[in-house]
Symmetry: C2
Subunit: 198 residues, 2 copies
DNA sequence: CTGTCAACACGACACGTTCCGTTTCCCTAT
DNA sequence: ATAGGGAAACGGAACGTGTCGTGTTGACAG
């Protein structure tokens, strides 16, 4: 019986080679053309090894993208809500534009639509934390009087992130900084002037 | 050499059976599990026949969804912009919620991310016309003074459709009517009535 | 701290499956 | 007569699994 492998003995070298090969291949051929066989070959790794640690191609790509994208998309907190929003959104757009991550990102996002397991993992290690950070930042802005207490955080989140996903799905060019600012401005209830000073 | 088939002699019965079987199978098994072989078998049609008229599974599903979704998502014009927006958006959400169309819709949308030909066709016969209708309706509202002349139609479109795609991709429940209205209200520059004080 | 050793992750390769997209052959309707 | 439709089979690609040596690794003894 295949006992679950022991993570302690896992070869970090193989792991890295696999993830790197994955992003490279996604960039070169596009997500759909990438196969587990191809990844293994490029990484100089056995297919068996890939399947030992990941259940599917999607899972490999998810980890590869997560690995590469977490850093550029952290949520800053400089005290200036609008600026912070724009910074974070720009980070996301960069990841969605950079050749090395774009296809992999889109691929895993779309694959998660058909693979419940992948969707669950993506949500747990990615989407969920982002949403929490986002709302946390917005609540803080509320406390500081930069945002009305009654503002609907869900609506704001949808409206701010929505355009990126909309344009992505519909194959329109992604928003640039100026456009982003327009969106952010158009939706954030302009109560920037403190109702009460902090 | 395979001459291009003659559309005049095409069997409408086979076409319908194929499209119906496609939606059924998508609903039953999910888009990813559906195969051309399965479609042909369910439709009582030869695989050859499918490939004679469509280049790929994605193309079949695109036509099937388009066929089923065009009617419920037409853009109304009652003179009331907010109401019309909500109506059309509800139509889209219905298609994205109904079991028979949901999986097929999402499937073709995501597949188009990896298949340029499919993306092009989807844009030509679907997305493009919708965008045109949308902007046409908004310009009319501008002419009638229901929307400020300076309003950025692209921003409005992104912000209004964005939440649907965002929530779809991120696996959150789709907006309901009340939520939609909130979004629409929050973004439409309220020049609907003579400038009200706020 | 160091040498030993069994466990186990690894790479290589081969296997049975599934589905693809195409082809062949014959039938049928126009 | 022509051309689309149905049945069946094809080679090819990729899947996910299994086997088999090889060699690295971590644990333990001294």
């Amino acid at each position: 019986m295949p006992n679950p492998p022991n993570p302690q003995r896992r070869s970090e070298k193989s792991r890295r080679a696999t993830l790197d090969a994955t992003l490279d291949l996604c960039a070169e051929q596009g997500y759909a053309q990438v196969t587990v066989e191809g990844i293994a070959a490029r990484a100089g790794v056995s297919k068996k090894t890939v399947y030992r640690w990941w259940p599917s191609k999607g899972a490999v790509v998810l980890e590869a993208v997560h690995d590469a994208a977490v850093r550029p998309t952290v949520f800053p907190d400089t005290g200036d809500l609008v600026a912070d929003l724009c910074t974070q959104l720009s980070g996301v757009i960069d990841v969605l534009s950079a050749p090395r991550t774009r296809s992999a990102f889109i691929g895993v996002l779309t694959e998660a639509q058909h693979d419940p397991g992948l969707a669950e993992q993506m949500h747990r290690q990615w989407i969920g934390p982002r949403i929490d950070q986002f709302k946390h930042r917005l609540r803080k802005a509320q406390d500081q009087g930069h945002l009305p207490p009654g503002a609907d955080l869900d609506v704001i989140m949808d409206v701010v992130y929505g355009p990126i996903f909309h344009r992505l799905m519909v194959h329109l060019p992604l928003p640039d900084e100026a456009y982003l600012r327009k969106v952010v401005d158009s939706v954030l209830p302009a109560s920037d002037q403190p109702p009460r000073e902090r």
